[in-house]
Symmetry: C2
Subunit: 140 residues, 2 copies
């Protein structure tokens, strides 16, 4: 013990859950599914200890998941990183493909947004006019 603690903080699963927004269940699930780059360290008593690298990786996972990357792709990415250098081109392809999907998703959402906003406007106007106006039903 003594001086080395500050360099490798080593968090418990609960602390990691707090920091990543994932539940402890999800953390264990991700590990089982092979979504982590390396095996999580354990204490003598068998409890998980996460390094800051683990947490960083998990934060990336969260971002990728948030943006709709399937767990399978995440797993693939983790495998690539796990096998070390030499496959950066593939990692790049994977990420870039995902970025493109995200772009498409943003575009689609913006289109939806404008359709919805227009509808909201229709209803708002209708209400403002004291609901006397003609609002035909299969909502215009």
């Amino acid at each position: 013990m003594t001086t080395t603690e500050a360099a490798v903080p080593s968090l418990s699963i609960g602390e990691v859950a707090e920091r990543t927004g994932l539940s402890v269940h999800a953390l264990r699930f991700y590990e089982r599914e092979g979504l982590l780059v390396g095996p999580v360290q354990r204490t003598s008593g068998g409890r998980r200890r996460y390094t800051s690298f683990d947490v960083e990786w998990l934060l990336i996972c969260v971002k990728l998941r948030e943006s709709g990357m399937p767990l399978a792709d995440l797993k693939h990415f983790a495998e690539l990183v796990r096998h070390g250098p030499g496959n950066e081109a593939e990692r790049l392809r994977l990420l870039d493909a995902h970025r493109q999907r995200v772009d498409a998703q943003i575009q689609a959402l913006e289109e939806c947004r404008s359709v919805i906003a227009w509808k909201v406007g229709v209803y708002a106007e209708h209400l403002a006019r004291g609901e006397a106006g003609g609002l035909w039903d299969p909502t215009p």
Copy 2:
């Protein structure tokens, strides 16, 4: 109440599937789940005939679903419309709440996008430099 009888072509389920992008299975499923405003008309032989109103509504449903509205909310919206006028304020709330969620989603995606784009940049640069550079692993 509509002006043109000829403008109500009455489509089969297959045709509606084509036009909406939903499968025939999904169309029957949506109907069972009460996601449609009215009951779909039937031929004497029991086959569904969709009006252009049905199709319009379904196209709205598709947009709302695409942007992540759960079927339960869609059902609620359909119920409001089904019960006719008088609840426009609630319809407005429902749609506007969804619009806000979509906005948040777009924002989140844009954040993800920039994180990913940055990472793509890191890998690309690394590769351009002939992968001699230092790429530490839990992907920087």
